[in-house]
């Protein structure tokens, strides 16, 4: 097992400038953004091209409360990770829980909206082009919220068991990057679906 000698690392402890976790998460965010981009393009392209009703103006109501919930969850998430970095366990658990709860409220809101459309308005993915693009785009986002909630819930459970320590703050921050992305993309989806599309 003798390798050709390569000069030994004298300064082997040279700090890596980039965290692979953060780079990896950025990559995932880029890939996810490309998926969203295609669905958003489809939404914009098919806007107003449905052959029958209902139209967005007829049935969509702007989800103000749940949007406020989701967007403020980014702030609480930021406070949670900042608290963990400083080792403030109680604040971390509290803010992390609030983030989880706000995300859950958002998801419940989307669920109620869909339930209303499907059972009261008879409006499904099959109804028209608006239905196809609306359910797929909002559903894609809701799927991301749901995945985020599963991850957040796992961390919450571990935190309540006392397993999340200060040294895990980097990992929690990487998860937070995903959550911020889910929030940021909602700004775009919201603008397209409830702003331009209506």
């Amino acid at each position: 097992m003798s390798a050709t000698p390569v000069s030994v690392a004298a300064e082997a402890a040279e700090a890596q400038p980039l965290s692979r976790g953060r780079v990896g998460m950025w990559c995932l965010i880029v890939a996810e953004s490309a998926i969203f981009l295609i669905f958003i393009v489809a939404y914009l392209f098919y806007m107003g091209k449905s052959l029958d009703g209902p139209t967005p103006r007829e049935i969509l109501t702007v989800p103000v409360i749940t949007t406020i919930c989701l967007l403020s969850s980014s702030a609480t998430m930021h406070w949670a990770t900042a608290a963990l970095r400083q080792g403030k366990q109680t604040a971390f658990r509290l803010f992390w829980f609030v983030t989880f709860a706000l995300g859950a409220i958002f998801l419940i809101g989307t669920g109620r909206e869909w339930h209303h459309f499907i059972y009261q308005e008879n409006f499904t993915i099959h109804t028209n082009l608006f239905g196809s693009t609306y359910y797929s785009l909002v559903g894609l986002h809701a799927t991301h919220v749901a995945v985020g909630l599963i991850a957040l819930g796992t961390v919450l459970l571990l935190a309540l068991l006392g397993k999340v320590k200060q040294e895990h703050s980097e990992r929690c921050e990487i998860l937070a990057m995903y959550w911020h992305f889910v929030d940021a993309i909602w700004v775009v989806v919201f603008t397209v679906v409830y702003g331009l599309g209506r």
Binding site: A12, C27, E32, F39, L51, H126
Partner: protein, 554 residues
């Protein structure tokens, strides 16, 4: 937690533990080899599909295959070739050599790496499971028959009943997830795992090009995933994305597919450039010419290739400014590509060239890729494309790139790196037989395939009438396949024979300069005894020539 105790590996006698070892591995080298072996198996399968099609087309009005079976074969041949041969093969070499070349212990995310491989593997198995579902195996079961780009509305349930198209969608969706994982891994590995001293500007071009490929995978494969999700919605949930009856537009599928499909070509060719850029200098005994220009050209190709997709769609009736835009962007790609060709030629110029088998394949690559690129420029001209769209000229063009370019680069990589991966040399004699027979077969098949295209033969027809003047050309193309098949058989025999009986390679059989040759062949699990420190782009040159190291000049 006894994390500091070192597990001493017991001698493995049971074959079961060896199998488990491979199934559960997260080692980049084992995963790389699994990618490569997996791709080789599918290379043989897709080759068999091509043979069947060429037998059918050799003579006019042949009844060897029926139309349905022919449709299935070209769909499976194309899909397999892109997703389950070329991509895994290139990812395999990238997986094996990117960490070694940058002096790392492994990829950035070893478990994601294993996950990516198994997703890709599962995708391929899923695609081929379609043969065994429904219908009779003789006529291809219910294999997809919609072509590798599966244009809407042919994929609608009304026109593609059964589950062939569903197998196609799911296989690509699953494999796409694997590819995105691999892309994430390549970018993170190159950006975060380099050994001390290896700045971005001192990285081997191989690592640079895999970095660009990884980034392209992220932005190019995702649109395909999105489009497949929409198609699943159309087929199973009753959405109307590509359904003209409800106002949906099939042309949207074309855009979504090709915004993936064209960058995909560059996802395949850039790692091939990476092979050439490592192998050519070693066999010319010169450092690569114009390293910064090569890096810039690679990034340029990656960027521009994201804006050329609709040159596949000149015949659908885009507005004239749309056509003009895509003609221009497509032609602009030729500029950085030309820079690369000239840099490779300048690397050869004045070099002390050794014509070993890897070098032969590289030189053939230069010629063939150039010709394939030039027919690409011809097709990028919209009026010319109106004439030849979906003709055999196009088929000949892209096979020139994929076989004459990518596959030849892959062969070069096999002959160059097989010694590192196995510790044994591939036979040079068999290698030269492989090379010359492959060159003859390739040119017989694909040079002459341009002609029936110019004479108006459309692609994807399962037969043609006698008296169209296409018969002779098709016969020549089919004869070429005999040579190509023979060459592949020699190659596979060489791989198997040399694995057991080949000459021992030693650490550095080619007197090369990148870090993978600094460790043993095959490398130990941990790659390097000590973390290497580099000061130039050719760290092994510096070690071998301490009196005249590269870092004095860079």
């Amino acid at each position: 937690m006894a994390t500091d105790s070192i597990a001493i590996p017991l001698p493995r006698t049971a074959s079961r533990s060896v199998v488990l070892d491979w199934l559960c591995t997260v080692d980049h080298k084992k995963i790389g080899i699994m990618y490569i072996v997996y791709a080789l198996i599918f290379l043989v399968i897709m080759g068999c599909e091509a043979i069947l099609m060429r037998i059918q087309l050799a003579r006019p009005e042949s009844t060897f295959l029926n139309a349905e079976a022919f449709n299935r074969l070209f769909t499976m041949h194309g899909t397999t070739g892109i997703f389950f041969v070329a991509m895994p093969m290139l990812f395999g070499f990238g997986n094996y050599f990117v960490p070694l070349m940058i002096g790392a212990r492994d990829m950035a995310f070893p478990r994601v790496n294993a996950f990516s491989f198994w997703m890709t593997a599962f995708g391929g198995i899923l695609l081929y499971a379609s043969f065994f579902s429904g219908g009779s195996l003789l006529h291809g079961g219910s294999a997809p028959a919609v072509g590798w780009f599966a244009y809407a509305p042919l994929t609608a349930p009304a026109f593609s009943p059964g589950h062939g198209t569903d197998f196609w969608i799911l296989a690509l969706l699953v494999a796409g997830v694997g590819s995105i994982g691999a892309g994430v891994n390549f970018v993170a590995t190159v950006l975060c795992m380099r050994c001390p001293g290896m700045t971005l500007g001192k990285m081997p071009l191989f690592a640079w090009m895999n970095l660009v490929t990884g980034a392209m995978v992220l932005v190019a494969i995702s649109p395909l995933t999105a489009a497949q999700l929409m198609l699943i919605g159309d087929r199973f949930l009753g959405s109307h994305f590509f359904d003209p009856a409800a106002g949906g537009q099939p042309v949207m599928w074309m855009h979504f597919f090709w915004i993936f499909g064209h960058p995909e070509v560059y996802i395949l060719i850039i790692p091939s450039f990476a092979f050439i850029s490592e192998i050519l200098p070693v066999f010319s005994r010169k450092a690569i010419f114009g390293y910064p220009a090569m890096v810039a050209a690679t990034a340029g190709i990656g960027f521009i290739s994201l804006g050329v997709w609709a040159h596949h769609m000149f015949t659908v009736g885009m507005p004239s400014y749309g056509n003009a835009f895509f003609v221009l962007t497509t032609m602009v790609v030729a500029v950085p590509t030309g820079i690369k060709i000239f840099n490779w030629l300048a690397t050869l110029w004045g070099g002390k060239i050794r014509f070993a088998t890897p070098m032969l394949f590289c030189i053939a690559f230069l010629f063939q890729f150039l010709i394939g690129g030039l027919t690409g420029i011809m097709l990028a001209t919209a009026p010319f494309d109106w004439q030849l769209h979906d003709s055999y000229f196009v088929v000949a063009h892209f096979h020139y790139i994929i076989v004459g370019g990518i596959l030849f680069a892959i062969f070069a990589a096999f002959y160059y790196w097989f010694p590192k991966m196995t510790g044994r040399m591939l036979s040079e004699t068999l290698g030269k037989w492989h090379f010359w027979i492959m060159v003859i077969g390739f040119h017989l098949t694909f040079d002459f395939m341009h002609v029936p295209g110019l004479l108006g033969m459309p692609r994807r027809i399962y037969t043609y009438q006698a008296g169209r003047g296409w018969g002779v050309w098709n016969m020549i193309s089919s004869i070429g396949v005999i040579f190509q098949a023979a060459a592949i058989l020699i190659f596979v025999y060489n791989l198997v024979h040399s694995y057991f009986k080949g000459a021992l390679a030693g650490n550095d059989p080619w007197d090369a300069w990148t870090l993978e040759w600094a460790t043993t062949s095959p490398p130990p699990d941990y790659n390097f005894d000590a973390v290497p420190v580099v000061r130039s782009r050719r760290p092994l040159w510096d070690i071998k020539h301490p009196e005249d190291p590269d870092w004095k000049y860079e």
